[in-house]
């Protein structure tokens, strides 16, 4: 089709289609209601499903805006296709990194790579360390509790919660807190 045809062919949809007021107002009402729904539904805990439900409602709202406020419904089909294509690539962008991070430990799992294990390790470390220094630490909560996570020096020994802050991307080795020497100034 030449562009002559191409623009004649959709003369009728461009510009000459005016959405009636009632539709706009209806959509607006719908959006308000859905917003309330999102907030209301967020109070219940469906576990993992939470995000999906929220995204589902959000998607309904988004499509209302796109199809009616942004006229995708009555506009040239090409614009709809363009936008859809964009969303396709967005979904790819989500798909692969997620595939990676969720399956990293399947082959030859190493502990400490999944954050869960990371935290258990640190909490344990903090307990041991609390026992050791209970007396000095009594007024020193933020050190005992700041669960700052770094690779342990060796997977054999359970590293105490390190308090030496990382310097220029060099994770410092975990060293137990001596109440007597505060963290060196960097």
């Amino acid at each position: 089709m030449s562009s002559h045809e191409s623009h004649e062919s959709h003369d009728h949809d461009h510009g000459h289609h005016v959405t009636p007021l009632i539709v706009y107002n209806g959509i607006f009402g719908g959006l308000l209601v859905l917003t309330v729904v999102t907030v209301w539904i967020a109070q219940f805990d469906f576990g993992a499903a939470n995000t999906f439900i929220a995204m589902f409602v959000a998607t309904i709202k988004a499509s209302l805006v796109a199809f009616f406020f942004m006229h995708l419904l009555h506009d040239e089909r090409l614009n709809l296709i363009t936008f859809g294509f964009g969303l396709l690539f967005v979904s790819l962008f989500f798909l692969f990194p997620l595939l990676d991070i969720t399956s990293r430990t399947y082959v030859d799992p190493i502990k400490d790579n999944s954050s869960g294990a990371k935290y258990e390790k640190v909490l344990k470390a903090q307990k041991d360390h609390e026992k050791k220094h209970a007396d000095q630490l009594s007024n020193f909560s933020m050190f005992r509790k700041s669960g700052f996570v770094l690779p342990s020096t060796d997977e054999k020994e359970a590293a105490p919660a390190p308090v030496v802050a990382p310097i220029e991307g060099t994770p410092a080795e975990g060293t137990p807190v001596e109440g007597t020497n505060p963290v060196p100034v960097q």
Binding site: P151, G169, P184, V185
Partner: protein, 317 residues
């Protein structure tokens, strides 16, 4: 057990059990390469020669411009071959990634621009010592930026990442020495970040390990050994031995007993205690006017080595 083979035209020697498998796939793909390259080139050159334009108004003698048969053929034949290569490659990759049960574990730390290898008995060395004919699994992490552990003769490679562990495993075929490279760009001395894998027979390995792989050799003075460590631990990259010469860090010449001022204006005297701290926890005191770029050597330098280094430093005046 097979021995380390000579290097071929394309590939370095096969020094690990996996190396042969890798090379088989490599050779297979190389054959495919030759075949297809010859087909394309011969076709092209032949057509150019045969249908070369002789006169200015010569026209094409055929309008042969599509053929489902041909196009189908050169969609499906390559696709098929590709799938074969893919499956082969993936199976091989799993072998490369999953270490056999009961492999010997060595934990590896990479940092700008040095490797250190820690054995289960706690000793830390800067060259990798492994027994022959026994699977070895390296559990690696980095202290600063990305590095990559690569032994061409073993055909193994894996990035080394801060805050996470990665692994490689290999089973060396026979005693010998092989080069370790860093293959993830990591700055100034990226290309200087190579070490040696020293493959020892099972007995030698046990013996050497007992008395420490890199303990002070008999008859060598602590100072002399310290001088060795000075280059081995790559202190040399940042600290000169010439009087007052400034590299990234201050010179070692006359360092013992030197007096000066730290970044936050405190006076210091570089006695043993100070030097020990500066090596183990460099950020504690930074000499005025120098960058905070020294990595900690905690867990890499044991007491003997520390004494040796101090002994060496004392000779520098």
């Amino acid at each position: 057990m097979a021995n380390t083979s000579e290097s071929s035209f394309w590939m370095p020697p096969q020094a690990s059990t996996i190396a042969k498998e890798v090379d088989d796939l490599f050779d297979f793909i190389m054959d495919l390469n030759y075949i297809f390259f010859i087909i394309i080139t011969v076709m092209t050159v032949a057509f150019v020669v045969m249908y070369r334009r002789k006169s200015d108004d010569q026209l094409a003698t055929s309008d042969f411009d599509h053929s489902i048969l041909w196009e189908g053929a050169w969609v499906f034949v390559p696709l098929l071959l590709c799938l074969v290569v893919f499956v082969w490659g993936f199976r091989l990759f799993l072998n490369l990634s999953v270490a056999p049960e009961g492999s010997m574990e060595i934990s590896v730390t990479a940092q700008k621009w040095a490797w250190s290898f820690k054995y289960d008995d706690g000793q830390v060395v800067n060259d990798l010592y492994v027994p022959a004919n026994r699977p070895v699994k390296l559990i690696m992490k980095s202290r600063d930026v990305l590095h990559s552990f690569y032994v061409p003769d073993f055909r193994v490679k894996s990035d080394v990442i801060p805050n996470r562990y990665t692994t490689v495993w290999f089973e060396a075929l026979a005693p010998g020495e092989h080069r370790i490279y860093c293959t993830e760009y990591c700055g100034k001395d990226h290309s200087g970040m190579y070490r040696t894998v020293k493959v020892l027979s099972e007995e030698d390995f046990a013996a050497r390990k007992k008395k420490g792989f890199e303990g002070r050799p008999e008859g060598q003075s602590p100072a002399a050994w310290g001088k060795e460590l000075y280059s081995k631990l790559s202190c040399v990259t940042c600290h000169s031995l010439k009087e007052g010469e400034r590299r990234i860090g201050p010179s070692f010449w006359g360092i013992v007993g030197r007096e000066g001022e730290t970044e936050d204006g405190e006076k210091y005297i570089a006695n043993e205690e100070y030097i020990r701290e500066s090596i183990m926890n460099p950020m504690a005191k930074i000499v005025k006017g120098y960058p905070k770029s020294m990595p900690s050597f905690a867990g890499q330098v044991d007491d003997d080595q520390m004494d040796a280094i101090l002994a060496f430093m004392k000779t520098l005046k």
